[in-house]
Symmetry: C2
Subunit: 442 residues, 2 copies
């Protein structure tokens, strides 16, 4: 019989629970035998006291064991996913999934929805008319074998412990915990039966975790968990003190991803996409060094193969593959307005958190998991920190559903984009983290 | 609309919530609008981050406002209670209530049950055949006006917020928090409409709070809360590194309290009783200095008035008042066995926590609030730390329900009473704490 109050007290007092205790706790929680109020108190104690290595591995494994996996049996192909810790304007998944599939990597990508100021891959995909992300594990397996790539949402049978625990953490102030974030993400990624995983750890003011030291800690924690399960795991730390690319908003980001797959995406987006793709090929064992790995990725773009694979993916999942050649088929916002610079100056900051919140206010994101999302709305932010602008030069476009939304969106943009001189910005890709340590890239 | 997750996050991050936020939270919690899991996470955040002065006053007041009070209107008599923070062998309430009533102080004493290793006044009173502690507030008020003293349990209409919150804290590892303990106790005491309150803060290994510095902090916190509500509040820090008196167990303690009221109680029990009684007379305004205050208390014992008042109290609450002259009418354990010293030595420790746990194992205490209690069982611990004992000299008596309980009880006693030389013991009464500060008494 599990003495839960005693376990909570021990964690509260800084002791480690045993792996068996964590397994029993998670098992009993999913079975409804441990009530939410005890798990909430325990989660808050973990926020303050952290978890030891053995605890973290046991918690992650117990969550993983709580449900089914995307079982790929003895399939010989390397299976690699990329996971990003929440950003604004980050559409790299839409580029990487078809690019890597063209290189012979199987990409079973199980993604999430946007929440708060950050976007989510599922919402972006669902901006494509007809696109279905609610596949069963059997459907996903079949498509992966046929097409080498599948992009879906979490299914009910996958890591139910995380689903229950995350919903609880979301309403009890216990989301911000590196061990709990790590266990949540890694239990879901390991359920994909991956041989390799590349993490895109966002840092800076628009990231969930804003301090670079904490971002590094998160990266190392997740890498430890991946490697402990035999999944080669590598992380890049990338800048989220400004949006990635130009488009911010679901359909706008799909359109920009299509530009990227045609070779004409914004340079920061392409740089991060290639850097992550290189790491994916490396952990897949399909390349031995970085210089060598970039060429085949570029070839998938130059040849049109990646774009073609994306069209196949869209078609296979019920979407309209014609968007690939005709992005006008994506949902379009009826009200588009350009915001111009009130005066000349140098762009100091483009605050992604403020932009992301403004997307939510436009209806393009959500404050609660149950909120519906308007795929058409958002922003195209045309300037980057450090850039000189003339008076009257366009800073951004607002894509809105109704004219009445423009004033607030304009105010949000004016708060987000400051022209007060040149502020310090983070390097686009600052660190590479592997099981062997941290490698600064600048 | 209360954004509870945001409030939890702010408390987690070390911010203070406003008094209005605390009031709204408690109101919504009692109304069932804030779920237990959010309150549990918040309580754990308070365990780590504490509460500011204004937060603590607001929380206590919100809990007090959640129910009725023992409303005594414009009654002119001073109304004083004594509250102890959990001990083993502590039967001072049974002596003080009638003694103070004889001195013209109204004593509306709302007590609790034993939990874990500590005893509770209600369980002791209910060891008296027929004694009824479940009075309504109206009955309590009427008896207080008639007899000057009433001893009852918490009623459903009194501080329901504390009832709900305490039950939650009890199962979520959030009991050990000085601000939460203080708010819980003081909201209930202030609901008695007191003009004065004397706190007996136990310190040492058998106390809930073992560190003297923490005990002092608890005392000062509760005094601040009492004085903020116009209730003169004073605390004594007393030793709980050994049991108080000889008898430990409900009926055994009633018998010892009766001895005390006849003037022949154990000296440590009488010392603490008089010291607390003196403070009660002082906060009542019925004495101006300590030397002057002790004499009238001693007179209530010498004259038999206190014993007589106790008999009246018992009779008024449905009990058999003849126990006062014939303690043999109290429940008697069928199996009594003496444990003798295996060798000569000096008593180093008599560990109250171990003794208290052994009472629970005998059936005389409870691990859960719903456990029934056997009033007859317990121990009489005949030795004190520092005392020299000869081989074969009785150390303690076991009072058990069944012979099969003796072996475990003997083992517990042997673990509790160590003869390994002279250990340091705490002074019986070490500090007096008032709104003006801390006064060492040794």
């Amino acid at each position: 019989m599990l003495q839960v109050p005693r376990l909570i007290e021990r964690k509260r007092d800084g002791e480690e629970l045993t792996p068996e205790e964590w397994r029993a706790l998670i098992h009993a929680y999913v079975a409804g035998e441990v009530p939410d109020y005890q798990m909430a108190a325990l989660a808050m104690a973990v926020v303050f006291q952290g978890l030891g290595d053995a605890e973290l591995v046991a918690l992650t494994d117990a969550m993983l064991q709580s449900g089914d996996r995307l079982d790929l049996g003895d399939w010989p192909a390397p299976r690699v996913d990329k996971h990003s810790i929440g950003g604004v304007g980050d559409k790299t998944s839409l580029l990487l999934a078809p690019m890597l599939a063209c290189c012979g990597v199987a990409v079973p990508m199980i993604s999430g929805r946007g929440l708060g100021h950050t976007g989510g891959t599922l919402d972006k995909l669902e901006a494509i008319p007809g696109f279905r992300t609610g596949l069963s594990l059997a459907e996903a397996r079949a498509q992966l074998e046929r097409l080498g790539v599948v992009m879906l949402g979490q299914t009910p049978e996958l890591v139910p412990a995380d689903k229950k625990l995350y919903a609880l953490r979301d309403v009890t102030g216990t989301v911000e915990s590196i061990p709990l974030i790590s266990a949540s993400i890694m239990s879901k990624k390991l359920a994909e039966s991956l041989t390799g995983l590349v993490l895109d750890i966002k840092t800076g003011s628009g990231a969930f975790i804003r301090e670079p030291a904490q971002s590094l800690l998160l990266a190392r924690t997740m890498i430890r968990l991946g490697e402990a399960s035999g999944c080669r795991t590598v992380a890049l730390l990338t800048a989220m003190d400004r949006p990635l690319g130009i488009a911010c908003g679901n359909a706008l980001e799909v359109a920009e991803a299509l530009e990227g797959l045609r070779g004409s995406g914004p340079s920061d987006l392409m740089e991060v996409t290639y850097a992550l793709g290189v790491e994916m090929l490396l952990v897949a064992g399909l390349a031995r060094e970085r210089g060598e790995a970039r060429r085949p990725l570029e070839a998938t773009v130059r040849s049109g193969a990646a774009l073609g694979r994306f069209a196949q993916l869209i078609g296979a999942q019920g979407g309209d593959p014609r968007v690939v050649d005709d992005p006008g088929r994506l949902p379009v916002a009826p009200v588009v307005e350009t915001v111009a610079a009130a005066r000349a100056g140098r762009v100091a900051r483009v605050e992604p958190r403020r932009i992301g919140q403004a997307i939510v206010e436009l209806g393009g994101g959500r404050n609660r998991a149950s909120d519906p999302v308007d795929p058409a709305v958002g922003f195209r932010v045309l300037v980057k920190p450090g850039q000189l602008v003339a008076q009257g030069e366009p800073l951004a476009e607002i894509h809105a559903r109704r004219p009445g939304q423009i004033a607030a969106a304009r105010a949000a943009l004016e708060a987000a984009i400051s022209l007060d001189g040149e502020g310090p910005t983070l390097p686009l890709i600052s660190h590479r983290v592997t099981r062997d340590g941290v490698e600064p890239l600048v």
